[in-house]
Amino acid sequence: MSQAPVLELRGIDKSFGPVQVLHDVAFSVHPGEVTALVGDNGAGKSTLVKCIGGIHPIDSGEYFFEGEKVHVGGPRDAAALGVEIVYQDLALCDNLDIVQNMFLGRERRSGLVLDEATMEELAARTLESLSVRTVTSLRQRVSSLSGGQRQTVAIAKAVLWNSKVVILDEPTAALGVAQTAQVLDLVRRLADKGLAVVLISHNMNDVFAVSDRIAALYLGRMAAQVKTSEVTHSQVVELITAGRSGELGLQNGNGATP
């Protein structure tokens, strides 16, 4: 479990206008492991993920992938590296169907023409591997799906590609008990297949159930990144709410000032 990180960020700063959202954030994810990214509302989890995905340009800091320094200038760069993200707001096109959404921006073609049959087969296979049994037709528009079904489509979209890193931003937020269990199971299976998985969640039980490491963001700073087996529930809660917990965490006061 001590493989070199596949993705590593160092000293990431990110501001939106005058508001600095990320301060000198370091973050690493390892192959074959589930890294839980936790933090209060507004801590900057989604922003960090969007920086990784190339949605937001980073102001400063370094981005390493498989040990090499890379520049991610847009979503295509991240996808080319093998980083797939399920965004908190899902980012699906309501007016397109399931298959169209899953292949959006990366359509299969034969010549000029879209290869619908192949895309449909691959989509069906992926959904099957996620044991999704609640969708009547792959040609259904996404707007006609329930919240949980939409979430499943977004996840399927991310695991469709042979990616190395899969990041899930609160993937279970809209799910029922059974489907949450399914997603967590999937998260574990992806990691066991050797992928690096990042799971953002507010649910401590879920975090402790599936993660190998926990990274806690506090007001835009990385309070700590620790092995799950070495911390307790209450320590993580303290890291989330106060930025520190005993020896762990930000040591200078409340961490809000540099």
């Binding site: 096109c93 309501d94 397109l96 959006l104 000029l112 049959a117 707007s143």
Partner: protein, 416 residues
């Protein structure tokens, strides 16, 4: 609930048709009306006008409908690209006027050959679209404002090109033929037959391929129904257009499918292919549906935006050429007055949403037919232009209302 992975083979007859019909009813009830309002409107209007004015049904009037509606339908087809993004191009009408003026000046004043003048007019359209699209996509000025400004400016450009309003007559035979000449009757039949056969072949091959791979395919009876419908409609149209419509056939014979018809059909096929079968078309829908999702999928949203305006103005240039051909001249009013509103009306009546993300190239023809029938029928009834405008305005409002309501209903029933 069933699973995704057991595809219905769909090769069984009646139940499959039944399933398709149920599916359709379900969609319509969910607010996805598609072409339904336009088709119903067309049938009702045609029935009403033919009862009130039997002349409406005469072969010559039927042919007139095509040549009258052609320019608007072509402009509407281009507008659909912009509307799909949830944008608007108010300048499409006068853009067609500018392109027509370019054509007229080059043909008549400069003596260019027709193909060079046509290319120049089309290039003018493309450049106009490039400028408008860049202003919208890169500077972020709302398309409503950019194209409203262009609307005024292009009106001025037409005047300047035409030397303060003198009209330029078009004398080139080829250009005049577009809206004024007909295909030989046999060729009309040949094209219709070829079209139906190719359509049937494509549908069958596609269904076979999908079935062979175990994917849900369109059932054969459904294909037969579609092919049959296409054959009946195109056959009837060719039949009527091939009737003699000259009042004095001994003197000059007038029959055959007007040449604009195959022009429009080719444009329809090209844009339908682009929208439905290419990645570019898919990206247009994606940007119209959720621009942020499209961006995150790695789609260059700005480029898609710009290209949609290019397509729109390019199609406007073709509309302008058709209008010039039909009028035998270019004047300061070419592409002006009601052209733009008719084109927007045609697209919306045909089922394209003003909110973006929903529309087909075919909508331009369906809606264009409704607009042309209203104009033509009310003209036959002897109504003044004022009444025609008022009625068309009301129909546009009605269509936009249907669009907005079906969207509301779709939101309520969770369908889009």
């Amino acid at each position: 609930m069933t699973t995704t992975t057991v595809p219905e083979k769909g090769t069984t007859g009646a139940p499959a048709i039944g399933a398709h019909a149920r599916d359709y009813v379900e969609r319509v009830r969910g607010g996805d009306l598609g072409a339904l309002p336009a088709v119903i409107g067309l049938v009702v209007l045609c029935a009403a006008f033919s009862v009130l004015r039997p002349a409406f049904l005469s072969p010559i009037n039927f042919a007139n409908l095509f040549t009258q509606g052609a320019a608007v339908a072509v402009i509407a087809m281009g507008l659909i690209f912009v509307l799909l993004l949830g944008e608007i191009d108010l300048s499409a009408g006068f853009a067609s006027g500018v392109c027509a003026a370019v054509l007229g000046v080059l043909l008549t004043n400069e003596g260019w050959p027709w193909y060079a003048a046509v290319l120049a007019a089309m290039a003018t359209g493309a450049v106009i679209g490039l400028v408008l699209g860049t202003l919208v996509a890169k500077l972020g000025i709302p398309s409503f404002v950019v194209t409203l400004a262009a609307f005024l400016a292009f009106q001025g450009v037409v005047l300047l090109l035409l030397k303060e309003g003198t009209n330029i007559s078009i004398r080139d035979e080829t250009i005049l033929a577009v809206a004024n000449k007909n295909m030989p009757p046999a060729l009309g039949w040949g094209c219709a037959a070829a079209g139906v056969l190719i359509y049937a072949a494509l549908q069958v091959v596609q269904a076979r391929r999908r079935a062979a791979r175990g994917l849900p395919a369109t059932p054969m009876p459904m294909i037969a129904f579609r092919v049959g419908a296409l054959a009946v409609i195109s056959g009837a149209a060719v039949f009527v257009l091939n009737l003699e419509r000259s009042r004095n056939a001994a003197l000059v014979s007038l029959k055959g499918v007007p040449i604009v018809v195959p022009v429009i059909v080719v444009l329809l096929l090209v844009w339908t292919f682009v929208l439905r079968r290419t990645a570019y078309g898919r990206h247009i829908y994606a940007v119209g549906g959720n621009a942020e999702a499209a961006r995150r999928a790695g789609i260059d949203v700005d480029r898609i935006r710009i290209s949609a305006f290019v397509v729109c103005s390019f199609m406007a240039s073709i509309g302008g050429i058709i209008a010039a051909s039909r009028a035998n001249s270019v004047d300061p009013n070419t592409g002006g007055s009601n052209v733009l509103l008719f084109a927007v009306g045609a697209a919306v009546i045909g089922g394209t949403s003003l909110f973006g993300g929903k529309g087909r190239a075919l909508d331009a023809l369906l809606g264009g037919a409704v607009v042309a029938v209203i104009e033509n029928g009310m003209g036959l009834m002897g109504y003044a232009a004022g009444v025609k405008y008022a009625v068309t305005g009301c129909v546009l409002l009605l269509a936009a209302g249907v669009d907005a309501l079906s969207r509301k209903r779709a939101a309520a029933t969770g369908r889009g």
